[in-house]
Symmetry: C2
Subunit: 298 residues, 2 copies
């Protein structure tokens, strides 16, 4: 399996995304479409679409038909985009640019951006409930997504990350827990939700293997992100280098130094590969996607 | 059926709410519980619990066991509270008091309040997916809730309400659509979600009757709210009277005057009663709840 699948899959996802947005956001009788326009602006942002691709990869490797995965993939991306829109708000990270374009609250306004995030979260669950999968699979996916993004997942991790500068005795275990909640939980859920679509049911051991794959992969990216913030310049990074240091953020580089952090990222990447090999079937799409993502990061 | 049922049901709901919060928010290994504390603060606010009561009433009238309704009722209240917390934020209505207590962002801080709302929305879907109901009912409830609170429901209505002062040619139909989206959709969904829990399935005609009941009831409250803002004083209202006029808000009183607005509210209340009588079974819990809510408003 080579990278051609990925490029084609990403294109197909973008097409499906536009179809879903047309279906849910086309409302001719409203006196204003501002919210709908802003939701479209936020969703069609040229992102890497790593999470939907992980969902497709895990589902395809488990033998799921690609058409059964589109609404699940859109749901996952909607949640990811909602989290970016809310994280960019002035009361959070106060970012004005994302991928070179004005952030949602800059392009529109703060109340609109707040509602864009709120409505994208609802849209995600609407997509899951309207997919072609069986109700028992849909409910498992709703549970998986909801628990990954709530107070013990993405939202809780964002809160801990905001408070982190105040913790004096923070350990590397605390840092790992914060990352696992803030970004890892949704990455794990993206993979598991794709695999859950398997009509004959996902075995507990495959589910555990895929969770382990997602956990190690997500953490590998986070550690490399911390390394690159120190070792890269702003141009090759595509965002401001040295920002972590300037913001006094807790990072892996601070805890273990650049060299050890690099080695830890490589170790995590190997762990992710090993976890994939534990699955009951071969996982060529997941392997190809891991290679592709790693080539763009490490 | 008298008001005793309501008082007992509300008490039972408060107990169940605490149990659910204990289960989902008790996380001893975290380095901070601030988000969890703030979610509890927002949820345990001494509200009327009108929406959970509507869910119980419709479910009980349809023959659903009360224990099958608790998680659904908690989900509905979690969504309602999330909307209050976000609406109170500085970039929205900028309210510092709710029911005489500091609003969430005042008691905690803005980022925490933003995340409280986000996590409460996720918690709502988690509760729906973990109820004792069958997967096909759970999926219908997820769909019903998600579509009621997204871009064509609560979030979309809030956006239109924020923009309303800019519309020069607004009609009473526009005003009605805004209210129906902003507050009516969740009220309708609360009733329908309770009735959907009926194991033998909710007939389309009963569903339509209950939607009509919810639509008319929700609008009746909104119209009376507009009337009371003009005719009551701050003390008996429990909130600042004359606020609509001062904020130049579009209201039913402005469109039709006090007397016609009062008559319209009475007409809507009668419509709600008539819609209930169209259902295939008698609806004593819903009737009692309507009486009780009306006695506290009209």
């Amino acid at each position: 399996m080579d990278g051609a699948w990925l490029v084609a899959q990403r294109e197909q996802f973008e097409q499906q995304l536009v179809l879903v947005l047309d279906r849910y956001l086309d409302v001719p009788h409203l006196i204003s479409f501002r919210l709908q326009e802003a939701m479209r602006y936020a969703m069609l942002n040229g992102g890497k679409r790593a999470r939907p691709l992980l969902c497709y990869a895990a589902g395809l490797d488990m033998g799921v038909a690609v058409d059964d995965l589109h609404l699940v993939a859109v749901a996952i991306e909607a949640v990811h985009v909602y989290s970016l829109v809310h994280d960019d708000l002035p009361c959070m990270d106060d970012d004005v640019l994302r991928r070179g374009k004005p952030t949602c609250h800059v392009a529109y306004d703060e109340p609109t951006a707040l509602l864009v995030g709120d409505a994208l979260q609802s849209l995600a669950f609407e997509c899951l409930a309207e997919s072609s999968l069986s109700p028992s699979i849909q409910v498992q996916q709703v549970k998986c997504l909801a628990s990954a993004i709530g107070q013990l997942g993405m939202a809780g991790g964002q809160q801990l990350d905001l408070l982190a500068p105040q913790y004096r005795d923070m350990t590397v275990q605390d840092l790992e827990m914060i990352h696992r909640m803030k970004t890892g939980a949704l990455i794990e859920a993206s993979i598991v939700m794709g695999a859950l679509a398997k009509s004959s049911g996902l075995s507990l051991s495959d589910r555990a293997g895929l969770r382990q794959f997602g956990r190690a992969l997500g953490l590998a990216f986070q550690v490399m992100d911390d390394v690159l913030d120190v070792t890269s310049d702003t141009v090759s990074l595509g965002k401001t280098a040295g920002k972590d240091e300037a913001q006094n953020k807790a990072t892996y580089v601070r805890f273990m130094g650049v060299e050890k952090a690099k080695n830890y990222a490589i170790q995590l990447n190997d762990e992710a590969k090993a976890a994939l090999r534990q699955c009951s079937v071969s996982m060529p799409h997941c392997e190809a996607l891991q290679e592709w993502l790693i080539a763009r990061t490490f």
